[in-house]
C-alpha cells in the first residue's frame, strides 16, 4: 500500500488524494468515562508492528473518512471501509 488505496466509493486512488490521521482502534469514550480512559484515548497508541486499522480521509475524492486495514510492515492492504460503517459495526460489537 500506500501508493494506492482502493476507496470503496471512488475506486483506486493515489496516496496524494488522502490525508492520514492515525490509528483507528482507539474509540472516543463516552463523556462519562474515567479520566484514565480519556487519557488513553487521546495519548496512548497500541502501535503494533503488523496489521493495523488506520483512519484515512479521502480529501481530494469523496471526502469520506475511511478505515484502512493494512500491514504497516509489508504495506499490504487487506481492506478499506467507510468509517461510518466501521463505527456502526463496532457499536454493535
Amino acid at each position: 500500500m500506500a501508493s494506492l488505496i482502493t476507496c470503496p466509493h471512488c475506486g483506486t486512488r493515489p496516496k496524494e488524494e488522502f490525508s492520514i490521521r492515525g490509528a483507528a482502534a482507539p474509540k472516543r469514550p463516552s463523556p462519562a468515562a474515567k479520566d484514565e480512559v480519556w487519557h488513553r484515548y487521546v495519548y496512548i497508541r497500541d502501535n503494533p508492528k503488523g496489521r493495523i486499522l488506520e483512519y484515512w480521509h479521502h480529501v481530494a475524492g469523496c471526502r469520506r473518512w475511511l478505515v484502512v486495514d493494512r500491514d504497516n510492515f509489508t504495506h499490504e492492504v487487506f481492506g478499506v471501509m467507510d468509517a461510518s460503517d466501521f463505527e456502526r459495526a463496532r457499536v454493535v460489537e
Binding site: G11, R13, E16, A60
Partner: protein, 182 residues
Amino acid sequence: MPINLLHRHVLEDHISGFETNANPNHLSVIRRPVIFSVLAHAGYEAAVAEALRKADDIASRYCNPSEFLAVSQTAGAGSVAEFLTAIPGASFVDQSDGFVLMAISGPSVRSILSKCLAVDLHPDTFGEGHSAAMMCCHVAANVARTGPNAFELLVPRSFAGSVFDELMEAGRAHALTRGFAD
C-alpha cells in the same frame, strides 16, 4: 441606486486575447452553467441519486454516495432549485459560481489528462457517463467522461486559473486550444 449586475467569469483574463480556431484537441470553458451541490440525507441516498439520474437537462456528477453535483448547461438556476426542492431527503445549495466547468476533448485527451490526474481513464474502467471526484492538477475536482474522447471537469473557482494553466501546459505538445464555449 440599482447595482449594475455584471457577472465576470474567473477565466476571462486567461482566455481573452488568445482566441483561436479550435484544434482537434480543445479545451472549452462553459460560461454560465448551473451547478448545485446536492446532499442526500441518511436513508435517501439511493432515491436522491435516482431522481438526479432521471432528471432531464441535468447531469449528475458523483461525489460520494450522499453527495452529488447537479449540473445543467440549459436549465436556469431557479428551475433546477425547484426540481431539487421536490426531491425528498435532499438538501442543496447553489454552487454555480463555486465551480468552473471545462470541457476537454480530442484525440489526445487521455494523454493530456494523464499528466494531470492519476485515475485510469481507459474506457473499460472509466466509461462514458462515469464521473468522480479526484485530484486534477493538484486540486480536488470532479471529472466526468462525456464521450469517447471527451471529458468535463468541475474545478473550484479559486483554483481555476491554476488548473487552466496546467491543463494548457499539459496540452502544449498536443496543440491544445482553448476558448469559451459561446
